[in-house]
């Protein structure tokens, strides 16, 4: 009954989104205010109707309705309730539903917070988001319906959620990541709407900038959380594998970062307009491409998808329509966009252009490395894989000029500037950076590698010039402390985000170069020395859970003979899915992580253990959090009146219908 309700709500949503895609756009074209005014109520209706479908799926999981195929595949009577609920997006059908629901959530948010926009713009933007929704709803309804029944022979119990996903990180990771992916649809819709009218003024950049920022924040958090999850849950101690699925999320992030910087130029200087529009289209296209790569599985697993090529084909077709359509529109209308490019060669604009070029290069590298195996195979040249060293080398090369630009960029004036203006601070920073770059790795780890020294240099350079910039800006008109208090939120946001980059670079430099990873064979009572820490294996005890059998290894860690911590690494065997899982034990530290994972039993009481020492690895994610926080500050800057709008929007929400313009 509830499943039918969900299915009905999906069908209803499709009907509403069809209307939403046609009527407001038609009204905007014809200048018909009645049709345009339909955009908001229909968007809210769509959101409510999809929320019903989404809630229905939650309910089905909560009560373990095994007459629904999707529940059977991902739930089980012994699965704890929290994981039953997160199993809603544990697999293909449900995660697509989550995708669409978030899309309508963004649409509803746009409808709610766009009271200050002209009616025509709102009608167009919401209409375009309606078009995007249609494509995904058709996909869900016809190829991957989560409400499909198993009648007449429904099973007594289900399979269960993949043990890897039974983790708190995975409860939040997909929604955050999808919020980011889907959020770029707003920037996309704004761009397409502007292309349709051909009127691209700075107001457009001002409207779409906070939305882009919001999407970027979610994407950043989603990637950070995913990387962190991979680190502690997979039992390998790695945080990034250059796997196609990870690359699929990194590509929109790179495009989105470029878009944010290019939007800044468009908003402040009315330049780069056409390029910004193209970037917005690109960012969303890459989100769709990511969905295609992950959902169709052509890169992940050749065999699994032979059985159901329709899904992959459908997304591919959708991709072609959306990307192709928007590029055609761009080709047709893009030439009407006029920018005011009156800046000199050495100016903030030029440096931001270089930033965009470098980000695009990085994007091209990831795209090449991700798609090459696919192309290679389709051309009949055999299967290949592109190794992680390729990405690592290329990213290091790109990061060097990028870090340099990041350091000096905020110091250079818009429009035109003199190189001599910042010669002194840059030279001092370079000198300090050279000294610290060689001294710090030596001091902290007794040895120097080129990449560690480079990483430290980049981080030091960025931090020093950020500090100089802050001091300059603050003492521009008044004393330092008064000046600091007067800085705008978006300025602080930029500072935090840039410092976040330095932290991430620092974390990567140390953890990649100075991690010690040892796989050892240990009997009870054995101990192993790693980086000044003594790991002592104290034995295994039982640790069973609701749906798994498990063992727990106790490892005591000593430093200089004094007890530092005790770690409990687990090995679990999930009885329903018959999968083994490693739960690593990690001692969190500001400057280092100690990591113990349990391998297999080697007989005679001996066990294989994985012992890691990972310096500064937390900084990688901490830097990501800084970037996201910086983004949040920028979004809440006074000039967007976003904070005020949030309040107003909340009020308007309580009295629907009173404030329709």
């Amino acid at each position: 009954m509830i499943a039918e309700l969900g299915n009905y709500a999906l069908a209803l949503s499709l009907a509403i989104s069809l209307l939403l895609a046609v009527l407001p756009l038609w009204g905007a074209e014809k200048g018909n205010p009645q049709l345009m005014s339909l955009a908001r109520p229909m968007t809210y209706g769509l959101f409510v109707s999809l929320s019903v479908a989404f809630a229905a799926l939650f309910y089905l999981f909560a009560v373990n309705d095994f007459s629904v195929q999707y529940v059977v595949n991902n739930s089980n009577t012994s699965l704890p309730i929290a994981y039953r609920l997160s199993a809603v997006w544990g697999s293909h059908e449900g995660s697509l539903l989550l995708w669409i629901w978030l899309l309508t959530l963004w649409s509803a948010a746009v409808a709610l917070f766009s009271k200050h926009l002209p009616q025509e713009a709102v009608a167009r933007v919401l209409g375009i988001m309606g078009i995007i929704t249609i494509g995904f709803l058709i996909f869900v309804l016809f190829t991957s319906n989560p409400f499909a029944r198993t009648f007449p022979d429904f099973p007594v119990d289900g399979r269960e959620l993949n043990p890897l996903l039974q983790d708190v990180g995975l409860i939040f990771h997909p929604p955050l990541l999808y919020m980011g992916y889907v959020g770029f649809s707003v920037a996309f819709a704004f761009s397409i709407a502007t292309l349709m009218t051909g009127k691209l003024d700075t107001a457009w950049a001002r409207w779409s900038r906070p939305w882009t920022m919001a999407a970027w924040i979610f994407l950043t958090l989603g990637i950070v959380l995913g990387s962190w999850w991979a680190y502690y849950e997979l039992g390998w101690g790695g945080w990034w594998f250059w796997d196609p699925v990870e690359n699929a999320s990194l590509m929109p992030w790179l495009a989105g970062t470029a878009l944010l910087h290019s939007l800044a130029v468009t908003e402040k200087r009315a330049a780069f307009k056409a390029w910004t529009v193209l970037l917005a289209i690109l960012a969303f296209s890459l989100c769709l491409l990511g969905t295609f790569l992950v959902r169709s599985g052509i890169l992940v697993s050749v065999h699994a998808f032979a059985s159901d090529p329709t899904r992959g084909l459908y997304i591919l077709a959708y991709l072609v329509v959306v990307i192709g359509g928007s590029l055609v529109l761009y080709a047709y209308k893009g030439s009407q966009i006029r920018s005011r490019d009156n800046y000199q060669r050495y100016s903030r604009e030029s440096l931001l252009l270089l930033n965009n070029i470098l980000l695009m290069t990085a994007l091209a590298v990831v795209l090449l490395g991700t798609l090459l195996p696919l192309v290679h195979k389709q051309l009949g040249l055999g299967s290949i894989s592109v190794g992680a060293p390729f990405f690592n080398q290329m990213f290091m090369l790109i990061m060097i000029p990028f870090a340099f630009l990041l350091g000096i960029g905020p110091l250079v004036k818009w429009r035109r500037d003199q190189v001599s203006a910042i010669r002194k601070p840059v030279l001092i920073s370079l000198a300090v950076m050279l000294i610290l770059g060689i001294f710090l790795p030596h001091f902290l780890h007794d040895q120097i590698t080129v990449s560690a020294a480079l990483g430290v240099m980049m981080a030091v350079f960025i931090v020093m010039l950020a500090g100089y910039e802050l001091q300059q800006r603050a003492t521009h008109r008044s004393g330092f402390f008064r000046g600091v208090g007067k800085l705008s939120r978006s300025h602080w946001g930029m500072l935090f985000a840039h410092l976040g980059v330095a932290m991430t670079v620092w974390g990567i430099a140390f953890s990649q170069n100075y991690s010690i990873e040892r796989d050892v064979r240990m009997n009870v009572g054995d101990s192993v020395q790693i980086a000044g820490y003594e790991f002592k294996f104290q034995g295994i005890s039982d640790a069973n859970g609701p749906n798994y059998l498990g063992g727990k290894a106790q490892v005591e860690v000593f430093k200089n003979g004094k007890p530092e911590t005790t770690l409990y690494a687990e090995k679990r065997f999930y009885t329903v899915s018959k999968m083994s899982m490693t739960e690593a034990a990690i001692d969190w530290g500001f400057s280092r992580d100690l990591y113990v994972a349990l391998g297999e039993s080697l007989g005679n009481g001996a066990w294989a253990l994985r012992l890691y020492y990972k310096p500064f690895i937390r900084w990688i994610w901490l830097g990501g959090l800084f970037m996201a926080f910086g983004g949040l500050l920028c979004m809440l800057d006074r000039r967007y009146r976003f904070a005020a709008l949030l309040n107003k929007g909340a009020n308007a929400n309580h009295h629907p219908g009173t404030s329709h313009e």
Partner: protein, 174 residues
Amino acid sequence: MNPRRKSRLSIIVFVLLGVAVAATLVLYALRQNIDLFYTPSEVIYGKNDDASTKPQVGQRIRIGGMVVAGTVQRDADSLKVKFDLNDIGPSVSVEYEGILPDLFREGQGIVAQGVLVQPTVLQASEVLAKHDENYVPPELDAQMQKVHKPMGVSDLKGESERDRQQIHTQEGQQ
């Protein structure tokens, strides 16, 4: 040439140079980091039975195959392990030192990456199990499906299994 054109020309030359340098670097890095994939039969007979495509001793490759039952040998004092891999034909040996992935077992499809030290012996630097069988060719897949089903992991269409792999390929690659 007026100054404006001159300045444009210099920008264009600069951009072209940049692109050329970038492309060269990318191609160079790619050449060193592409690992060709072979099945055990292809290691022995070459691709499509063309002996000239056999991998050379000393070459970095990936081999994907099934762990032959009863061939897994562990060293008594270290983490060294040796096992055979096959597909539909003969088998090759893999030597590895370290902890095998959670899902490694006999009869399981795995991918081993490493250097070919003898014509039929691979010194593996990493062994990837199940959820990362990205590059397993379809012929091998048929074999793997036969082995998986009796173990009770697959569902009717193999769908849930397949979806799990997609979301979580972050798995494995190390």
